[in-house]
């Protein structure tokens, strides 16, 4: 008896577009997971500059304590420590395969989340600088025909970062009952002259097959609160990235980082978010197994938050912040920062951490040194207005 995947593939193959189905292996063994923290995650709590003489004073009740103090940071070096909620990530720092970049920012210099995220994802200084995502442009040489997608967005919608000319896959777990194969075949025929719907149906069927193959999760049992669901999402990302002939790059979204009120310090709202992120990353690490050695995870956010505490025990939209890179091939255990300091004269517009590193330098390093993409292609097509900014080198073994 024909299995479901074969049956539907046959139905689709008879239709006009007739794509080959199955993710073809992209021309790289490297894996990349990008985690977008939406809402501006507070870099000064995430990778806390506990050793900066002005930190404790300016941050007041939101300051994270020095290493050794109760609820103090996980020490990275004499200046920086990781928020105490990151137990797993701290182990990776200790093991030397995680690093943070600090005082880092995209070139966007206003304070709107929505524009800031668009700029972060389109790779320019403004929301309207480009209409497609830099990661989409970057992976053009790796292929992205229907059934040959290099990248997948895990979530109901595809983030701008992955939108563009290169075709990418998209998948989110379903709790809906499955649909029968005959109906799918008939829809494939009904969509025959509708390129938009036809292409999407073909892609959906293929993603569904991988999700089902991968440990029979199928995502049907997605339960629990947002943090547990995020952990499942990263578990699913690992399944896609380790599937034979699966995609090599995955992007996931994480929301809720906009801590205007009652942010908390070592415990509280933000700490709970960090703990959830840490648990999800640990789940991903476990799921990647031996492939971890070929994997990099890039975690970034649209901008930092104000250095000072606001009137509602939170922080407002700022400028520079932190980003983290973790993976088997990362030369980690350190924080890379041209640290501007937190004394009053050093703050950007008197309120924010001063940006000293262009976030795109980190993105470029990941594309060129990890994914081994051609540097000339990156300068020409991915970050054309960023050519003079050097690649952060030496990040990967």
């Amino acid at each position: 008896m024909l299995d479901r995947r074969t049956l539907i593939q046959a139905a689709i193959a008879t239709a006009a577009v007739g794509p080959r189905l199955a993710f073809a292996k992209a021309d790289t063994e490297k894996r990349l997971l990008v985690v977008l923290l939406r809402g501006a995650a507070d870099g000064l709590s995430w990778v806390a500059p506990y050793g900066d003489p002005n930190y404790a004073g300016l941050r007041g009740q939101l300051a994270i304590g020095a290493p050794g103090a109760s609820d103090g940071v996980h020490k990275i070096d004499g200046t920086f420590g990781l928020h105490p909620a990151f137990d797993w990530l701290a182990q990776r720092f200790a093991a030397g395969d995680a690093l943070a970049v600090h005082a880092v920012a995209s070139p966007y210099r206003e304070r709107s989340h929505f524009d800031g995220q668009d700029a972060l994802e389109n790779g320019t200084a403004t929301a309207l600088g480009k209409r497609d995502g830099w990661l989409n442009r970057a992976i053009a040489p790796l292929g992205g025909e229907l059934g040959n997608e290099t990248a997948i967005a895990i979530g109901t919608t595809t983030p701008l970062l992955l939108r563009g000319e290169t075709r990418v896959a998209n998948w989110a777990p379903s709790r809906l009952p499955g649909v029968d194969d005959d109906t799918l075949s008939r829809l494939a025929r009904l969509y025959e002259n509708d390129e938009f719907l036809h292409a999407r149906l073909a892609q959906a069927i293929e993603s569904q097959a991988i999700a089902d193959d991968a440990g029979n999760m199928g995502g049907k049992r997605r339960r629990g609160n947002a943090q547990q669901q995020f952990r499942q999402t990263l578990g699913q990302a690992a399944k896609f990235l380790t599937a034979e002939n699966g995609p090599r790059i995955a992007v996931v979204d994480s929301g809720g980082w906009d801590t205007h009120a009652n942010q908390g310090a070592a415990t509280g709202g933000l700490a709970n978010r960090f703990r959830g992120l840490d648990a999800a990353l640990a789940e991903f690490h476990k799921g990647m197994g031996a492939t971890w050695r070929d994997t990099a995870v890039l975690i970034m956010t649209e901008f930092g938050r104000t250095v000072r505490v606001n009137g509602t025990r939170g922080t407002d939209h700022g400028t520079a912040g932190a980003a983290v890179l973790v993976g088997g091939g990362v030369r980690g255990g350190r924080v890379i920062a041209d640290w501007p300091g937190l004394n009053a004269g050093a703050l950007y517009q008197g309120r924010d951490l001063y940006p000293t590193t262009d976030l795109r330098s980190l993105c470029k390093a990941t594309l060129i040194e990890h994914l081994k993409l051609d540097a000339a292609h990156i300068d020409r097509a991915v970050f054309p207005d960023n050519t003079p900014v050097p690649v952060l080198d030496g990040l990967f073994a």
């Binding site: 304070r111 929505f114 109901t156 499955g178 649909v179 109906t183 509708d194 009137g311 025990r313 407002d316």
Partner: protein, 460 residues
Amino acid sequence: MTIETAIAANRFGLGARPGDLDRMGDPQDWLRRQIARAEKPDPVLGALGDTPTVINEIFELRRQRNEMRKAGEEFVNEYAKTVRKHYAAQVLARYQHAANTDAPFRERLVHFFTNHFAVSADKQPMPAIAGLFEQEAIRPNVTGKFADLLIAVEQHPAMLTYLDNQRSIGPGSRAGKAAARRAPERNLGLNENLAREILELHTLGVDGGYTQTDVTTFAKVITGWSVAADNDVRRNGADAVGTFFFRSRAHEPGTQRILGKRYPDSGVNQGVAVLRDLAVHPATARYLATKLARHFVSDVPREALVAQLEAVWLDTGADLGAVANALVAHDACWAEEKQKYKSPHDFVISAFRALDYTPDKPQLLFAMLEQLGQTPYRPGSPAGWPDTADDWGSADALYKRIEWAGAVGDQAGTRAKPLPLARAVLGPSLSPGTIKALAGAESGGQGLALLLASPDFLRR
């Protein structure tokens, strides 16, 4: 019956119910009548209560919960339960009303502006009041002056709480000075969130020509715009807990300059004056005209249409009824091609209406909208839900619609008569390809699934 009949019901409205197309009469008149007259009140919506009552109830429960928690007692979280109860009731009422309303064009405007002025239910206590915000601030104002809608929105307790303005304190106000003396380490003070989003999302748009200084100054202007608490009622003369309250002690004194214009300190009216000017600002006209054209007609609306809506906006002092009528009158809105891929929200409502189905189980309704990607009243940010096929048309999202259509078909089984139903709700806009697929379906249920997942039904 002409193609315009189907367009009026499906593009301007929320989707035809069987019989709607036959009863409509002249499509443009049908649309204009919905703008000219308010609907008669729907008892389903009327039964939801009002914001002050609900806020009173849940804040009291929250206080009790916190006391029990502090005392270390075992307790049932009545606060969370009650918030969920209100959320479920408001979501159910919203979709029941949408499934049954005879004024679906007006209702689409209600949903459009609720999304434009989004308060997202992922922040407490929004789930308990987001639906009431729609009933109280949005629904009565969608065909009046935009300024009145704007003021109702920015003074509603839901918006003031969602964007943190109820705690914003002018540094030079009496409350600000007192706080600086008593508790300098708490740094109580200005919160820019609401002011920024009013400029960026509600009126001018992000390219509307304002500066960071305008944001900070505007934040000062609306300090004191708050929600009445217990002691405001007992001591400060507020009407009732959970109503809009201007806390003059927290209001930053003095004349302020925004977008080059001076606004003398007139207490609460200082902010009202700014909102009235923002409502008729050319940047606001352009931004809202573009959003409306994109919502109703096309992801990339024709410039002529946007310019026409913009002109009417400016000529009429932002009269939303006149703008809606301009939409009805414009040729670009009647193009035969269906250019809009439905959002999950639109898709589900149009399916309810096609099937003459009134949802009655809130958990089921909630689960289906969540699975299809649009959890009710929960866009996740003050920007609201996005509005293009790029945002909603992913492969996986399509697959979920198909799964849902399949489940609906299974439920209907042999009772479904897909082809007559398709003709009744899509009229002359039904394509030969869909007719052929429905005619060849192996069962009524499968035919219904194919109809709901057909290109004709996924777009409007």
